[in-house]
């Protein structure tokens, strides 16, 4: 690379795309959030009205609570399940590659299809889950899984975890592949059993994979709206109305562009704070362990 101008010319197309599709829109969203823009005409300045509304109505803190609960369930279950399966597969080379690919299959499917499929599985009338429970004599447990506020969010969380556990498993397996073989050998020679090796040798060395998995699934789950959008539309009684779903419905159901923008800004700030805190905490944990 000879000159600074040449470098700039190489980066120019990408710069334009990033400016037009990220920088300018983020600035515009910030601006809209202080207006009552409805998508037509010129936006009227509305001061902090939109943010006042978010703070003063219980609907939005409720949506935030749903989002956080959903994220906590998904991240915890998915990380633990992925870690458990990867640890098993690490010890079972004969089935490792097959199982890794097979478990990854749901991640190849679209939220649209996963949403409809599970919606039908949970369906109260001819759905697979209730039929299965009845056939094994657990008829008392059958219910409208997505129609009951106490189970709807968990039901969606299970569909989400089902979709991405194979992905988490694959990342943990990549972490296992980075553990030097002689460390494992030394552990075996010292007479450590499988559980001891996992707890004292492998888990500390997997710290970077834990960081990646937790951060990816947290950020991905915080901003997801697809499964509730398809499976419940936020119902019953707001039990599955996440903040992202609220944004999409304000945008394209109600055309409240200004208000939706202020919700997006709140969401963006939350995502940034969570990512920052997690990064600091988990990286710190990595340093302590190595």
């Amino acid at each position: 690379m000879s000159s600074r101008t040449t470098k700039l010319l190489f980066m120019l197309p990408a710069l334009i795309v990033l400016a037009v599709f990220f920088v300018y829109p983020i600035a515009l969203t910030f601006y809209y959030s202080f207006t009552d823009f409805t998508g037509v005409g010129t936006p009227e300045y509305a001061g902090l009205k939109n943010y006042d509304r978010i703070m003063s109505r219980s609907r939005y803190p409720e949506a935030l609570k749903v989002t956080i609960l959903f994220t906590l369930i998904v991240v915890t279950v998915q990380t633990l399940a992925g870690l458990f399966i990867a640890t098993l597969l690490q010890r079972l080379p004969a089935v490792r590659n097959f199982a890794r690919a097979a478990l990854f299959t749901p991640a190849m499917m679209s939220f649209v299809i996963v949403g409809y499929l599970w919606q039908f599985i949970y369906s109260p009338f001819n759905g697979g889950l209730n039929a299965l429970l009845t056939s094994v004599g657990l008829e008392s447990l059958t219910r409208a899984w997505l129609g009951d506020p106490s189970t709807a969010l968990f039901a969606i969380a299970i569909a989400h975890v089902w979709m991405f556990t194979g992905y988490t498993t694959a990342i943990f397996l990549a972490g296992y592949a980075n553990i030097p073989g002689d460390i494992e050998e030394a552990g075996k020679l010292e007479g450590a059993n499988s559980l001891q090796r996992f707890w004292y040798l492998e888990l500390p060395l997997l710290a970077p994979s834990v960081t990646i998995n937790v951060m990816l699934s947290t950020i991905g789950t915080l901003k997801t709206f697809e499964l509730p959008f398809i499976m419940t539309k936020g119902g019953p009684d707001g039990a599955t109305r996440t903040l992202s779903l609220e944004i999409i419905e304000n945008l394209f159901g109600a055309y409240k562009f200004g208000f939706a923008s202020s919700l997006s800004i709140v969401m963006l700030v939350i995502v940034i704070i969570v990512a920052f805190v997690q990064n600091k905490f988990l990286r710190g944990r990595e340093d302590n362990m190595s």
């Binding site: 190489f10 990033l18 599709f21 990854f104 299959t105 749901p106 679209s110 901003k223």
Partner: protein, 274 residues
Amino acid sequence: MTKHNIRTSIGNIFVLLLVFVMLVPVIYMILMSFRTGEEIAADPLGMPSGLFLGNYINTLESMNYFRSVANSVGITLSVTVIVAFVGSLAAYPLARSTNAWGRAFIMLVALGLATPAFVTITPIYVIFRQVGLLDNYVGIILAFTALNLPLAVFFYVGFIGAIPRDLEEAAKLDNCTDFQVFWHVIRPLLGPATATLSLFVMLMVWNDFTYPLLLLTDPDKFTVMISVYRFVGNHNIEPDLLFPAAVLGSLPLLIIFVIFQRRIVSGVTAGAVK
């Protein structure tokens, strides 16, 4: 058999059972797609009584399936070509030296990677409406290009960084311009990176439904997932239409996945780890 062997066998059987349980929803989807609505209502867990294709015929007739597949494939190809060119072009100087400007650019790319779609989607919708890119192939291709570009830049920076510089030095001694070096020396080596990248692009174009849902309204321009979404939604989730639509919607990607599974799993995992 030793104790160790017995434990390994039990473990293998357990893993295979676990895989089976995880795949039950996919198997269920395929089996149900061959049953009529009445059969499913009468016995939700029953097996198909034969290879009943009526559902598929109905679905294919009313879903505009092949048109949507052609749209998805065309958009994927266009996005891949643009993203590969723009991304590798920007990545080349970044991979060779980083100064303050380069680092600022990397920060910008990271911002693009981390921004949730709904933060930028309202302005993009408004801008597209102003310049006539709503309901337009060019518009949706540009939007998907922007979504994939940050990842592409990171991808190529890592890949080009691992290419030895000797070749470039030789070309420069022959008085090639920087662009000629890029085009004749670097670009031909990018094949494997571009192949993996194209899998990412394909996954996103095929499966994403936020962007096409908002930017496309003409059924002739729909991608596959929007067709599935509109089709199933319009029919009140009836199983004899839902399941064949779901199978048709996922089948092409699942076939590609079976063929390229090792490359896809390691590519997606590596993309996450970097």
